[in-house]
């Protein structure tokens, strides 16, 4: 599991790749916290190379969304696979995120 954070103009893009299982969620928590500190900005979670998301991964997404809402930023989830979209749907979070 990797996460790469880059600036694309004024947008912060976090590229997630691999399997976001419980262990990986612990591993990338510092990166997500770093993103959360800048949650007043426009953040895009690029999931085009994300293969799997666990509950722990969902919790990280939720943390970021909460921070973004609190700080008046914008959070978008980009290019999620059908499987991950299904996870968002089954858990009822599909309408919570702006998925592009």
């Amino acid at each position: 599991m990797t996460i790469q954070i880059e600036n694309e103009g004024s947008v912060l893009v976090a590229r997630l790749a691999g399997r976001l299982d419980t262990a990986a969620a612990v591993e990338i928590t510092p990166d997500i916290q770093a993103l959360a500190e800048q949650a007043d900005k426009h953040i895009v979670l690029d999931c085009s190379a994300l293969e799997y998301i666990s509950s722990s991964g969902l919790r990280l997404f939720l943390t970021l969304r909460k921070e973004s809402a609190a700080k008046g930023g914008k959070l978008q989830v980009r290019a999620i696979s059908a499987d991950i979209r299904q996870v968002f749907m089954m858990t009822g979070f599909i309408s919570l995120f702006e998925i592009v």
Partner: protein, 347 residues
């Protein structure tokens, strides 16, 4: 400028740090008190008179003042409210915070003759305990503020007295804005009453009497009508439930034919079991131990669409309504349809 005025100006320069400290304390106390009382206002602002402005005042009426303490508007604070009745609420709040110099305070709203209109504002001359100098607190509505600002701009800025005809038109506008202020306050009171009535109907279970709209749906959600279903769904994987807003479902429910809260309640009762079966089918084979508080209502809508024969197109419309139009919604609709098609309610 005469010598007496020069003395007062000198005193003003020496007292500037005191006024600055006083300004910070007054602003802090006002902001804290507004927050404590749940009062939302347009602006809280303050200024310390400039030396130039004070010199101008002294040049005009310097003999009126013995010392700097006699001038009550060196520090001026202003609260601009949305509603006219908030001016009185904030006045009551200020009376508790500061010592009010009633002799010099003036309610300009009460000074007008029955047939005259113009500047409307409440001016309190206040003292912060422990300070020698007094300050002025102005309270007015946004509309009163707009009128006063424009009147000041047109009437005084040029330094030329404007003709009676224009003054009459400006004052006529003050009357119009007074009516608008009263109407805004009345509307707010009536909306509050309406919300109270709706809440009472919801609490008494008289849901058929309540039309479905944004306000009433929010009131209905306060009684957590989908909690039992959410808890059953969460129990499938011993999941935690994260609270999320459900207001987006309003347009979906309307599209499903719900016109009253009674319709929403019936929809829930009719499809609850199948919505649970769908969730069990979807989540049962996973280790997902977190669900949102929208999951129950989401599944109720899915089941309703499918049982009413909406098929994949109906589901696509549903996901489009929730997530916005997106090419991947088609895939999601297809997937959900296929999952549900194995369940008894689809047979």
């Amino acid at each position: 400028m005469d010598l007496h005025s020069e003395f007062i100006l000198e005193e003003f320069r020496d007292a500037m740090p005191v006024f600055e400290k006083m300004q910070a304390e007054v602003m802090q106390q006002l902001r804290d008190a507004l927050a404590r009382n749940g009062l939302v206002v347009t602006a809280v602002e303050s200024r310390i008179k400039t030396e130039e402005s004070l010199a101008g005042k002294l040049a005009l009426k310097g003999s009126k003042y013995t010392t700097l303490s006699d001038i009550t508007d060196i520090l001026g604070a202003r609260i601009i409210t949305f509603y006219t009745d908030d001016v009185d609420r904030i006045a009551a709040m200020a009376e508790k915070l500061f010592e009010i110099d009633w002799t010099n305070s003036v309610d300009k709203r009460k000074l007008h003759q029955l047939d005259s209109f113009g500047y409307n504002s409440l001016h309190y001359i206040c003292r912060l305990p422990g300070y020698e100098y007094r300050f002025e607190l102005q309270l007015r509505t946004t509309l009163q503020h707009a009128w006063a600002s424009i009147n000041h701009d047109t009437g005084y800025k040029s330094g030329v007295e404007i003709p009676r005809e224009y003054m009459r038109r400006i004052n006529r506008l003050a009357g119009l804005l007074e009516m608008a202020d009263d109407e805004f306050s009345r509307i707010r009171t009536e909306i509050t009453d309406y919300r109270r009535r709706v809440q009472q109907l919801v609490q008494n279970g008289k849901l058929d009497d309540v039309l479905l709209d944004g306000d009433t749906f929010r009131s209905y959600l306060k009684v957590r009508p989908f909690e039992r279903l959410n808890q059953r769904i969460a129990a499938i994987n011993q999941a935690e439930i994260q609270d999320v807003p459900l207001i987006r479902y309003l347009r979906v429910l309307k599209a499903l034919g719900c016109n009253t809260l009674g319709d929403v309640s019936r929809l829930r009762n009719e499809y609850e079991e199948d919505a649970y079966a769908l969730a069990r089918h979807q989540l049962g084979n996973t280790d997902l131990d977190i669900v949102s508080s929208a999951v129950g209502l989401q599944n109720i809508c899915i089941v309703c669409i499918l049982k009413q024969g909406g098929g994949k197109i109906g589901l696509l419309r549903f996901f489009n309504a929730l997530n916005g139009h997106n090419t991947q919604n088609e895939e999601l609709a297809e997937l959900t349809y296929n999952q549900a098609s194995n369940l008894p309610f689809m047979k």
